[in-house]
C-alpha cells in the first residue's frame, strides 16, 4: 500500500500527464479515450496557471502538415472519412499519418454497416467485411516491422488485427502500444477484451505506470474476481481519486456482481448526485432497484433518463425493468427489443427479455431469447440458468439438469444454481446428489437461505431424523444470526420439527424450549401448546412413578395421552 501511495503521491504529475494526453487524443479524434481521461482529470484538483503543461512540441513536419491536418480533422469530425483521408494522403507527420489511417479504417467500418442493410442476400450478411482492413494491415505491418509506429498507430494496428481475428498478434501489438503510450486508455481497454483468464493476464509484461492499476482493477472485475477488484479500487480512492465518477461506478458495478445490493445502491445514488445526467451503467442501477422492488425510485430514474436521451440502450433497459416491475411484461419485452435494435450485441437485454417472456408464460420465446444471449456470450450464466428454469417450468427436470450444470460451471460458487440443481435431482429422486447440492449450496454461502431448509426437509422425508434435526438447528442459528427479516423464513417449521424430535428423544428441556418458541409464530402456536401440554404430562407421569425407568415409556405410548 505504501508503495502505491508513493506512486500516486505526485497527483500533480498525474494531472499534468492527463492534460497532455487529453490534447493528444483530441487531435486524433479518439473521443472515448478523451472522455475517460477528462473524467479522471476532473476528479483531481485544478492546477495553478504556471503549472500547466506546455503544449506539445512542434516539429517541422507538423508545421508543414498543419493546414491539411486542420482541414482533414474538420471533415473527420463531420464523419466524411474518405474526404479526410484524401487530404491527408501526402502528409509526413505522425499525427497526420494516424488520422489518415484511422479515417480509412472508420470509412471501411461505416461502409460495412451501410452494406449490411443492402447486401445481396440475407445470408451474405455474414460475408460483409470491412474491405479496408486488409490494406490497412499490410501497410501497418510494413511500418511496424520497420519500427515506425508510435503509440496511437500501434493501437490502430492492434484494432485492425483484432478485427481480422488475429487475436494473438493483436495482444502483442496492444501490449506494445501500452508501452509506447501508457496513458492511452483505449489500448488498455482493447487489451482487456482480449484477455480471457488470469494466467494470461499474469504472463503479460505491462508498463509500470499508475494507469496500470486502473487496468488491473478493471480486469479483475471482468474476470469476476470481485474481491481483488474492490481492494484495488479502494486503494486508488485512498491515493487521491476519490472524486472520480469512473471509479465510483466501477465499484458499484462490482458490488452488483457480488450481489451486495445495499452497498451498490448507495454508491449509485452517490453517483447520480455527482453526475445527474449520466446514462452509462444506469441499467445496472435499475437492476438493483428492480431486485429491491423500489418502484418509485425506478420510475423516477426511468423518467429522468428518458428526458436525457430516450434512444440509448441503457434507457431502454431501465424502462424495460420499470415495466417489468409493474408486471406489464408485454411493454417490458417491447423495450428490451428496442434496446436490441439499438445494439444487437447487448447481452443483458437478451437475457432480460427471456425473463419477461418467462413471466408471460411464453416459454418458446423465452428459450429463443436465452439462446440468443448464449450466442452472443457463451459464458452468460444467467441465460443458461434461465434456460434451465424454462425447462423446469415445462416439467422436464432431467432435461434442465444440463443447463443448470452449465450455469454452475460458470459460477461454481453461486448457491442459486446449486439449489436449482438440488431441486431437480430431488424431483428425479436422486437423493444423494440432491443432498450434496444443498450442502454445497450452504457451504458456498447461501444467498436465499433456502438450501438448508430444503436439505432438512429432504432428510425428514427420508426419515433421517438426526440429520434433519442437525440441519434445522443450523438453519435456525443462521436465520437468527443474520438478523434481517426474510420473507419466506420458515423458522416455525424448523422449531416444530425440533420440538417433536427432542420430545421423541426424551430431551424434554430442549423440547419445551422449542415448543415455547413455536408459540411466537401464528401458524405453529397450536402445535406448540399441544406439545407443551404433552411434555408437562410426561413430566408429571415421571414424577408420579419416579422409580420406573424412563426407558420403558416408548414415544408411541406417549402419543395416546395427547388430547
Amino acid at each position: 500500500m505504501a508503495a502505491l501511495c508513493s506512486e500516486f503521491g505526485d497527483l500533480v504529475q498525474i494531472k499534468k500527464q492527463l492534460i497532455s494526453v487529453i490534447s493528444l487524443c483530441k487531435e486524433r479524434g479518439l473521443v472515448h479515450s478523451v472522455k475517460w481521461a477528462s473524467e479522471l482529470a476532473f476528479a483531481l484538483d485544478p492546477l495553478p496557471k504556471n503549472e500547466l503543461p506546455p503544449s506539445a512540441t512542434f516539429t517541422e513536419e507538423d508545421a508543414q502538415d498543419m493546414d491539411a491536418l486542420g482541414l482533414a480533422k474538420s471533415y473527420f469530425d463531420l464523419k466524411e472519412y474518405d474526404r479526410a483521408a484524401y487530404f491527408l494522403r501526402g502528409c509526413r507527420s505522425q499525427k497526420a499519418y494516424f488520422l489518415y489511417m484511422y479515417s480509412r479504417y472508420l470509412s471501411g467500418e461505416k461502409k460495412k454497416d451501410d452494406e449490411t442493410v443492402d447486401s445481396l442476400g440475407p445470408l451474405e450478411k455474414g460475408q460483409v467485411r470491412n474491405e479496408a482492413l486488409r490494406e490497412l494491415r499490410v501497410e501497418l505491418s510494413k511500418k511496424h516491422s520497420a519500427g515506425e509506429l508510435d503509440g496511437f498507430t500501434l493501437y490502430l494496428y492492434g484494432v485492425v488485427l483484432r478485427k481480422l481475428d488475429l487475436l494473438k498478434e493483436a495482444v502483442d501489438v496492444f501490449v506494445e502500444a501500452t508501452h509506447a503510450l501508457p496513458l492511452h486508455w483505449g489500448a488498455w481497454l482493447e487489451l482487456c477484451n482480449l484477455i480471457t483468464n488470469i494466467d494470461m493476464l499474469k504472463s503479460l509484461s505491462l508498463p509500470d505506470c499508475w494507469i496500470r492499476d486502473f487496468f488491473i482493477a478493471h480486469m479483475y472485475t471482468e474476470l469476476q474476481m470481485i474481491k481483488e477488484a474492490l481492494q484495488k479500487y479502494q486503494s486508488l480512492i485512498e491515493s487521491g481519486f476519490s472524486k472520480s465518477t469512473y471509479i465510483v461506478s466501477q465499484i458499484a458495478v462490482a458490488y452488483h456482481n457480488i450481489r451486495d445490493i445495499d452497498q451498490a445502491l448507495a454508491l449509485f445514488n452517490e453517483l447520480r448526485e455527482q453526475d445527474p445526467f449520466r446514462i452509462e451503467n444506469m441499467d445496472t442501477f435499475s437492476n438493483l432497484l428492480y431486485v429491491r422492488s423500489m418502484k418509485p425510485e425506478l420510475s423516477y430514474l426511468a423518467h429522468n433518463l428518458v428526458g436525457i436521451d430516450k434512444y440509448r440502450v441503457e434507457t431502454c433497459c431501465v424502462i424495460g425493468n420499470y415495466y417489468s416491475l409493474r408486471s406489464q411484461h408485454e411493454k417490458a419485452a417491447l423495450y428490451f427489443q428496442r434496446a436490441l435494435k439499438l445494439n444487437p450485441r447487448c447481452l443483458g437485454a437478451w437475457t432480460l427479455m427471456g425473463h419477461e417472456y418467462m413471466e408471460m408464460k411464453n416459454t418458446s420465446a423465452a428459450i429463443q431469447a436465452y439462446r440468443h444471449a448464449i450466442e452472443v456470450n457463451k459464458r452468460d450464466y444467467r441465460a443458461w440458468y434461465g434456460l434451465g428454469q424454462t425447462y423446469e417450468i415445462l416439467k422436464m427436470p432431467f432435461y434442465c439438469l444440463y443447463y443448470y450444470r452449465k450455469a454452475h460451471q460458470l459460477r461454481p460458487n453461486d448457491s442459486r444454481m446449486l439449489v436449482a440443481l438440488g431441486e431437480s435431482y430431488e424431483k428425479l429422486s436422486q437423493h444423494v446428489e440432491a443432498k450434496k447440492c444443498y450442502w454445497r449450496a450452504y457451504t458456498v454461502g447461501d444467498v436465499e437461505r433456502m438450501a438448508l431448509l430444503k436439505l432438512a426437509k429432504l432428510h425428514e422425508q427420508l426419515n433421517e431424523s438426526d440429520d434433519a434435526a442437525q440441519c434445522y438447528i443450523i438453519y435456525i442459528q443462521d436465520i437468527f444470526s443474520c438478523g434481517e427479516q426474510l420473507e419466506h423464513a420458515e423458522v416455525s417449521t424448523a422449531l416444530r420439527y425440533l420440538g417433536q424430535y427432542y420430545f421423541k428423544n426424551k430431551l424434554y428441556e430442549e423440547a419445551s424450549l422449542c415448543a415455547q418458541r413455536c408459540c411466537d409464530y401464528n401458524d405453529a402456536r397450536e402445535e406448540g401448546k399441544a406439545l407443551l401440554r404433552q411434555i408437562s404430562q410426561v413430566r408429571d407421569h415421571m414424577e408420579a412413578s419416579n422409580t420406573t425407568p424412563v426407558r420403558r415409556v416408548s414415544p408411541l405410548d406417549l402419543s395416546s395421552f395427547s388430547p
Binding site: T116, L123, E124, K125, G126, R134, E139, P344
Partner: protein
C-alpha cells in the same frame, strides 16, 4: 465505461437476431456462379443442335449444378467441358461478353433470358425444374436495388477474371488493391510478397462463400443420408464439423446443422459436443414450431417430448444407463400428460431396448410394445419389437418354428410397408438364428441373400445402403462360416472388405474385430500354437468379457494349468446361468468335461456331458449337440464300451458331415476309426479284417480333413494309427509310408509341456 469504438463491437453477422435470415422469405439469390449456370441453361434451351449423347450428359449435370455449392469458374467450365466442349465454349463466350462489357450487357442478358411464363414448349416451362430455377433467379434479380445490381456486376467481373489469374494468386479481392497502395508506398514488391505470405498462413478458407439456404439444405440432406447409409462416403468428421461451423457462422438460425453436428460428433464418440448440439437443435426447433399452438400435436410440446426421448437415446448410445433411464422417464411422463400415443410407443420401444442393454429380461415389455404399436398402426415399431422378441426367444430356447413364423410374419409387414432397413435386419437375424442352430448352409444362404439383394430404397447419391449393422453381422457370419470350412483366403477377403466398410472408429467396427480375433484364436489353437493364442485372449476380453474368459480357460487348459482353468470355468458357468446364455453354458460344460478327462475322470465327465446334451437338444442347438455327442462317445470309448460309443457317434455323424466345421468332421471320423479299432479287437479274424479296413478308410478321410486345416498334432496321431493298422493288416509299403509321415511330423512337433488334445 462504454466501449471505445461502438462500431468495433457491432458485428451484424453473428447474432443479430433482429433480422432473421428467413424474414424476407428469400431462399436463394443471384451470384456470379448462378449467372454462369443460367448462361449454361440459356445455351441449352436456345438449342443449337447438340448431339444426343452430349445433351444427355448435360441434362444429368443440371440438378447437381443447381443444388450444389458455388463452384469457381474453373471448376464449372471443366465439368461442363467434360460433357460438351462446344457448349462450354459458348457459355464462356457469353460470360466474357458480360464481364468485359458494361453493366448493360448483364442487364441485357437477364432481359433476354427465356421467361418461363412465355415459353410453353421449351424445357424452361414454369413448372419444370429448370423453369423453377430460372424463375427464382429472375425474381431475385428483379428484387435487387440499384447498388446491389452494381455490386453483383462487380462480383461477376471478379469471378470471371479470377479464372484467368494463376491458381497461385490467392486473394481475389486484392485485384483492386494495387491502385490504393501506390498512394503511400513505393516498394510494392516487398509488401505484396509479405502480404501473400502472411495471408497464406491464415487457415481460413477464403474462396468458399456462404451457402444459400437451398444449397445448405441440400448439403445437410446429403451428408445426413451418407452418415446413415455409408459413412465412408460422407465427409471426414473434422471436415464436416468445419463445414457445419462455417454454415452456422453465417446462419446461426439453421437448426438442422446442429442436428447434423450431433450425428457427426456421435461418430467420434464426443459426448460433450453431441449433447450440446442435440439440445441446441431442440431449443431451436421449439422456436420454429411454436407458432400459435401451445401443447398440441404439432406445437412445440411435441418437440419437447422428442427432445427428451432423443436425449435418452444419446445416453443409451454412450452406455449411461441411469441417465438414459431418467431421460426416458421424463419423455414418458410428458407424453402421457399430453396423450401422445405415438411418442409413448417410441418411448416404450426404447425402454425395452434399455432394459435389454442393461441385461435384464424385457420380454413382457416388448410384447406390450408390439401389441400397442399394432393398435396404433406403427408398423416400424411393431416389427422392431417382434424382431427383438425373436432375438430374446432364440436365446431362451423358443422352438424354431415359432421364431421362423414370427420372422416370416414381420417380413410380410416389411414388404408391405417397404421398410427396407428392417428387411435387412430380418435377414441378418435369420442368418444368426440358423447359425446358432448349427445349420451352416442355411446361414450362408441367408447371408448371401442379404448381400446380394437390391435395396428397396431408391439409390440416392450413388450409395446403396450397406453400412448398417445388419450388413456387418451378415459379413461376420460369412467370415466365420468360411473359417469353419478352412477357407482362410476367403476369410481374409471378407475381413478386408469389412475393414474398409467399417473403419475401426465406427460404431459397428467391434463386430468384425471380435470375429477376426476369434478366427485367429481358433486357428492358433488348432495348430497347437498356444503362445500365439494367448495375446488374442486379452484382446477378445476387451471386446467381450464372457467370450474372453472362455477363451482364457481354453488356453489354460491347453497349457496344462488345470486348476486355474477349472476355477475360471466354474465362475463363468455361474455367470452364464444367471444371464441365461445357454450356448456358453454348454461350451463351458464341454471344456469342463475335457478337464475331467485330463485327470482320467471319465466317469465324472459323463453326467456333465449328459446335462449339456439335454440343454443343447432343448434349445435346438444342433452343432453343440453334435459336439457333445462326440465328447460323450469319446468318454464311453475310454470307459471301455466302444460299441455304445460307436452307436452314439452314428447319431451325430450325419449332422456333422452335413453342417459341421472341417475340424469337427475330422474329429468325428478319427473317433469312429478308434471305436472301430477297439471293437475289432474282440471280433473273429475275418470280421476283424473288414472292421480294420473300415477303420483305415475313416482314418484316411480324417487325415484329408486335418491336412486341409494343417492341423499337425492330430495328423500325427492319424498317421500313427494308420501305420499300426497297416502293420496289422500286413500292408508293408503303406505302413512304411505312414510311418515316415508320422516321423516327419513328430520331429517337427517337439514342443513339450503342452497337452495334446485327446479328442
Amino acid at each position: 465505461m462504454a466501449s471505445v469504438h461502438e462500431s468495433l463491437y457491432f458485428n451484424p453477422m453473428m447474432t443479430n437476431g433482429v433480422v432473421h435470415a428467413n424474414v424476407f422469405g428469400i431462399k436463394d439469390w443471384v451470384t456470379p456462379y448462378k449467372i454462369s449456370v443460367l448462361a449454361l441453361l440459356y445455351e441449352m434451351t436456345t438449342s443449337k443442335p447438340i448431339a444426343l449423347q452430349e445433351r444427355r450428359r448435360l441434362n444429368k449435370l443440371i440438378l447437381p449444378l443447381q443444388q450444389g455449392p458455388d463452384l469457381t469458374l474453373d471448376q464449372f467450365l471443366k465439368t461442363v467441358e467434360e460433357c460438351c466442349p462446344q457448349t462450354a465454349y459458348a457459355v464462356k463466350l457469353r460470360l466474357h461478353e458480360m464481364a468485359d462489357g458494361e453493366l448493360k450487357d448483364m442487364e441485357y442478358f437477364f432481359a433476354t433470358l427465356p421467361t418461363p411464363f412465355s415459353a410453353i414448349d421449351s424445357e424452361a416451362y414454369k413448372t419444370s425444374v429448370v423453369g423453377l430455377f430460372m424463375r427464382h433467379m429472375l425474381l431475385a434479380y428483379n428484387k435487387l436495388s440499384f447498388s446491389q445490381v452494381y455490386k453483383l456486376y462487380k462480383a461477376l467481373q471478379q469471378y470471371y477474371h479470377s479464372h484467368y489469374s494463376q491458381p497461385g494468386d490467392v486473394q481475389v479481392g486484392l485485384a483492386a488493391d494495387d491502385s490504393d497502395m501506390d498512394l503511400t508506398s513505393t516498394e510494392d514488391n516487398v509488401g505484396e510478397r509479405m502480404e501473400k505470405e502472411e495471408l497464406d498462413t491464415r487457415p481460413e478458407v477464403v474462396d468458399r462463400g456462404p451457402l444459400s439456404q437451398k444449397q445448405a439444405e441440400y448439403f445437410l440432406a446429403r451428408q445426413a443420408y451418407l452418415l446413415k447409409n455409408d459413412e465412408n462416403k460422407a465427409l471426414k468428421p473434422s471436415a464436416l464439423q468445419d463445414e457445419l461451423n462455417n454454415m452456422l457462422k453465417f446462419n446461426p438460425d439453421f437448426a438442422e446443422a446442429h442436428y447434423l453436428s450431433y450425428l457427426n460428433s456421435m461418430r467420434v464418440q464426443d459426448i460433450f459436443i453431441s449433447t450440446h448440439s442435440l439440445l441446441h437443435y431442440f431449443d431451436r426447433l421449439i422456436l420454429s414450431g411454436s407458432e400459435g399452438k401451445s401443447n398440441g400435436d404439432e406445437g412445440y410440446g411435441r418437440s419437447l417430448r422428442y427432445a427428451a426421448l432423443n436425449l435418452a437415446a444419446l445416453h443409451c448410445r454412450f452406455g449411461h444407463y441411469q441417465q438414459a433411464d431418467l431421460a426416458l422417464q421424463e419423455a414418458i411422463r410428458i407424453a402421457q400428460e399430453s396423450n401422445d400415443h405415438v411418442c409413448l410407443q417410441h418411448c416404450l420401444s426404447w425402454l425395452y431396448t434399455l432394459e435389454q442393454m442393461k441385461g435384464s429380461d424385457s420380454s413382457v415389455l416388448t410384447e406390450d410394445s408390439v401389441k400397442m404399436a399394432a393398435h396404433f398402426c406403427l408398423p416400424y415399431l411393431v416389427s422392431l419389437g417382434i424382431q427383438s422378441l425373436v432375438q430374446q426367444g432364440a436365446v431362451q430356447g423358443k422352438t424354431a418354428h415359432e421364431l421362423m413364423d414370427a420372422l416370416k410374419d414381420t417380413d410380410i409387414l416389411h414388404w408391405k410397408h417397404s421398410l427396407s432397413e428392417l428387411i435387412d435386419i430380418s435377414l441378418a437375424q435369420t442368418t444368426s438364428i440358423w447359425r446358432m442352430y448349427g445349420k451352416s448352409t442355411m446361414a450362408q444362404q441367408q447371408a448371401q441373400l442379404l448381400l446380394n439383394m437390391n435395396s428397396l430404397e431408391q439409390v440416392n447419391f450413388g450409395v446403396q445402403q450397406n453400412n448398417t449393422e445388419a450388413f456387418a453381422v451378415a459379413l461376420c457370419h460369412l467370415a466365420e462360416l468360411h473359417a469353419e470350412q478352412g477357407l482362410y483366403g476367403a476369410v481374409s477377403e471378407v475381413l478386408k472388405h469389412l475393414k474398409e466398410q467399417f473403419p475401426p472408429h465406427t460404431q459397428h467396427a467391434k463386430l468384425w474385430m471380435l470375429c477376426d480375433l476369434k478366427i485367429q484364436f481358433d486357428r492358433a489353437m488348432n495348430d497347437g500354437k498356444y503362445h500365439l493364442a494367448e495375446p488374442h485372449v486379452t484382446a477378445i476380453a476387451a471386446l467381450n468379457k464372457t467370450e474372453g474368459l472362455y477363451r482364457k480357460a481354453q488356453v489354460l487348459k491347453a497349457l496344462n494349468r488345470t486348476t486355474e482353468a477349472y476355477s475360471i470355468l466354474q465362475r463363468l458357468q455361474l455367470y452364464c446361468e444367471k444371464t441365461k446364455y445357454t450356448e456358453m453354458i454348454i461350451r463351458v460344460m464341454l471344456v469342463t468335461a475335457e478337464l475331467h478327462w485330463e485327470s482320467s475322470g471319465f466317469a465324472t465327465a459323463l453326467p456333465l456331458l449328459l446335462q449339456a446334451l439335454a440343454l443343447a437338444r432343448q434349445h435346438h442347438l444342433q452343432a453343440l449337440a453334435s459336439e457333445t455327442i462326440l465328447h460323450l462317445a469319446f468318454t464311453q470309448l475310454m470307459l471301455g464300451v466302444p460299441e455304445q460309443a460307436l452307436g452314439v457317434l452314428h447319431e451325430a455323424m450325419e449332422p456333422i458331415l452335413a453342417h459341421g466345421a472341417v475340424m469337427d468332421k475330422g474329429r468325428a471320423l478319427l473317433l469312429a476309426a478308434r471305436c472301430q479299432m477297439a471293437m475289432a479287437g474282440t471280433r473273429s479274424n475275418g470280421q476283424r479284417h473288414a472292421a480294420l479296413g473300415l477303420a483305415v478308410q475313416s482314418l484316411g478321410e480324417a487325415a484329408a480333413y486335418f491336412s486341409m486345416l494343417d492341423c499337425k498334432e492330430r495328423l500325427r496321431d492319424v498317421h500313427y494309427l494308420q501305420a499300426r493298422l497297416h502293420h496289422t493288416l500286413g500292408q508293408t509299403p503303406q505302413r512304411n509310408k505312414c510311418a515316415m509321415l508320422f516321423r516327419l511330423l513328430d520331429q517337427e512337433l517337439q514342443a513339450p509341456g503342452a497337452a495334446v488334445p485327446l479328442l
